[in-house]
């Protein structure tokens, strides 16, 4: 079975390895330059000026080649599992159904269970290894940038815990790759046609990649909460909504944050704990009154900011939990797939 699996998977494996090799060459060629620049700016030896130096480093990179490569690395990390699902997973068994060759394969002296488990095991392992190598290479390359980001800009969208970066670092991509691969295989087994199975794989995997960070990840570990007095002078958002019918409302968002944390929600609450939504006082609605008068009124309300967040130190526990979820999903799909093949009578 190992021979057959490898013989059929050969070209896909070589293509995947070639793409990995190209990425590795690009990263190896540019990585040392990035480290050199990091050292030149003086970040490794800074004491009190670290934040400023880090800001300088980031600003310098942002619109240059390194910045583009950083974004490309994120895109590659999200694309890789999807491509594995589409091009390694979906055709794996769907193509056997399309050409009828499964009828030959299933009548050799190897049971269907062994046949499907060998395919799932060997290629699934390859998918995980490929994603792991890619994650390792890109994480290594991006480490100076990420160090500078965490030194400098606490509110950056590119901190390790932020939804954009989290899924492209650490071990989560391994879970995605395993899941996407088996999702593709299962779609192929159920649909029995390669191209529709590819489309379904992409749609479902993309759905998971959107729903996971928005709905599931914030609650994988119960998030922490913190409050601070609301300061209108540093507010990020100050909005009065008045559309003529009904009382006017007011939306305030403060800038309170926790360094390195992933802020899941940021609410402004009244002393009684209710989410503040106005109504604004007359001074705020009166066009002739000064902004300062309105600000004074807001400050007199004793509003507080309540933030819900995942602290910086939870990167690895969250990675572990999310990877675990995807591996369990992959195992479930693998079981479904094997059961379908055993049961499937063609």
């Amino acid at each position: 079975m190992i021979w057959l699996t490898w013989r059929q998977f050969r070209w896909q494996a070589i293509t995947g390895a070639a793409i990995l090799a190209v990425i590795a060459i690009v990263l190896a060629a540019t990585g040392p330059g990035l480290v050199t620049r990091y050292d030149q700016i003086g970040l490794p030896t800074c004491h009190s000026t670290c934040a400023a130096l880090a800001g300088k480093f980031i600003n310098e990179l942002e619109f240059g080649t390194y910045g583009k490569l950083f974004y490309a690395g994120l895109v590659a990390m999200y694309l890789a599992p999807a491509l594995i699902g589409i091009f390694w997973g979906a055709p794996l068994i769907a193509r056997e159904f399309e050409t009828g060759s499964f009828r030959m394969a299933w009548n050799q002296s190897v049971t269907r269970t062994r046949w499907v488990l060998a395919k799932l095991g060997l290629i699934g392992l390859s998918a995980v290894v490929a994603a792991g190598l890619l994650s390792l290479a890109i994480t290594w390359w991006a480490s100076p940038i990420e160090q500078a980001l965490s030194d400098g800009q606490s509110g950056s969208h590119f901190l390790p815990l932020s939804p954009l970066v989290f899924g492209a670092r650490g071990i989560a991509p391994l879970g995605y790759a395993a899941f996407a691969f088996i999702l593709g295989v299962t779609a192929g087994v159920l649909i029995r046609r390669t191209v529709p199975a590819m489309a379904v794989t992409l749609a479902i995997f993309a759905g998971f990649q959107i729903l996971m960070p928005t709905l599931v990840r914030p609650h994988l570990i119960p998030p922490a909460q913190a409050t601070a007095p609301f300061n209108v002078n540093t507010a990020n958002e100050f909005m009065i909504n008045s559309n003529g019918n009904g009382p006017a409302t007011m939306t305030l968002v403060g800038n309170y944050s926790v360094p390195g944390a992933w802020i899941v929600s940021n609410q402004t609450i009244t002393p009684s704990g209710r989410v503040f939504d106005g109504p604004p006082a007359g001074v705020c609605m009166n066009a002739s009154a000064s902004q300062q008068a309105c600000n004074n009124w807001v400050n007199s309300q004793h509003l507080r900011q309540l933030i819900t967040y995942q602290p910086q130190g939870r990167f690895w526990p969250l990675q572990g939990a999310e990877t675990g979820i995807y591996l369990v999903l992959a195992a479930g799909l693998g079981t479904l797939c094997t059961w379908q093949i055993r049961r499937r009578r063609a």
């Binding site: 079975m1 021979w3 057959l4 013989r7 059929q8 050409t99 009828g100 060759s101 499964f102 009828r103 030959m104 394969a105 299933w106 009548n107 050799q108 002296s109 190897v110 049971t111 269907r112 009578r345 063609a346």
Partner: protein, 303 residues
């Protein structure tokens, strides 16, 4: 002795349509069995049940004493060439032989290599570029070289040209001559099977209409021609299969284990094709449905 295929009340339903119903059969080992019937009669269904590719809806089937497709041992004992002789289009002929060797502990590499060179197949050629006849030969080679006890061939020559048909059957006959393999091969044409089969199963409208040793079937059927008379007046030892009448003359096909001695009949033998067609014609006029007494018409071979 264990039967090659032993079916009892076997039936397979797809949705509301029965592809095979109430099939009771016992095919002995060591025979070359022709499974004949029109398209859609249930031939592929029966063979798929025998390989374990399908599970029965009703009844049971045993192949060489085991449950079809139940494990590596059972799989190793049965060689199967599926309809349209599927192969891996992207793999070469040589790859197919490696495939067979890796997938079958009983693989006879010497036999496979000899067959491929006799057939003139180029080892490096991709199977997807083979002609229909070559592909069928490759599929047959794979099935033979695993050294099965039973070879199941589902319309292997239906799509082949006459020359390729002849070559395929030639290979099949050589194989049965040099090993003890039992063969069951389906076709919708009796002529395809006449040269190789010594046992016949006729399927029609999802039912077995006739099953038995070819020579015995031919010996026990007589075509009676004579002055017009009612088929019901024949003695009970003579079962009427079909009867046709003109104003003055009756032509009746009877099955009888004893010779027909009535001098008012002109008695003649019938060939295999006409025999099969007679049973198919008879099936067509019968009402369909599980209650139809088709099973009573099955000729049981005396053992």
């Amino acid at each position: 002795m264990t039967a090659a295929i032993e079916a009892s009340g076997l039936g397979k339903r797809y949705g509301r349509r029965w592809a095979l119903s109430d099939c009771t059969l016992s095919i002995p080992v060591g025979r070359v069995v022709g499974l004949v019937g029109p398209n859609g009669a249930g031939k592929t269904t029966l063979l798929s049940l025998a390989t374990g590719m399908l599970a029965p809806t009703t009844g049971s089937i045993r192949v060489l004493g085991g449950t079809p497709g139940s494990g590596p041992k059972q799989l190793a004992r049965v060689g199967y060439v599926a309809q349209d002789t599927p192969v891996y289009p992207g793999l070469s002929v040589a790859d197919h032989l490696s495939f067979g060797a890796h997938m079958n502990p009983g693989w006879d590499a010497e036999l496979a290599a000899r067959r491929i060179s006799q057939l003139g197949l180029v080892p490096g050629q991709k199977a997807g570029t083979l002609s229909g006849g070559q592909r069928a030969q490759l599929a047959l080679t794979l099935a033979i070289a695993k050294r099965p006890d039973l070879l199941i061939l589902d319309e292997p020559i239906a799509s082949l040209d006459p020359l390729a048909r002849r070559e395929f059957l030639q290979v099949l006959m050589e194989t049965t001559a040099e090993s003890q393999v039992s063969v069951i091969m389906s076709s919708h044409l009796v002529a395809d099977l006449e040269r190789v089969a010594d046992y016949l199963v006729v399927l029609m409208s999802s039912r077995v209409q006739l099953a038995g040793d070819v020579d015995q079937l031919l010996a026990s059927h007589q075509l009676l021609t004579g002055a017009r008379r009612d088929p019901g007046s024949l003695p009970p030892s003579q079962h009427v299969v079909t009867a046709s009448h003109t104003d003055r003359q009756s032509t009746i096909l009877v099955r009888s284990d004893v010779p027909v001695l009535d001098p008012s009949w002109s008695v003649s033998q019938i060939d295999l094709e006409d025999l099969v067609l007679a049973y198919m014609g008879q099936a067509r006029t019968e009402p369909a449905g599980p209650a139809a007494p088709a099973a009573t018409k099955i000729l049981e071979e005396k053992r």
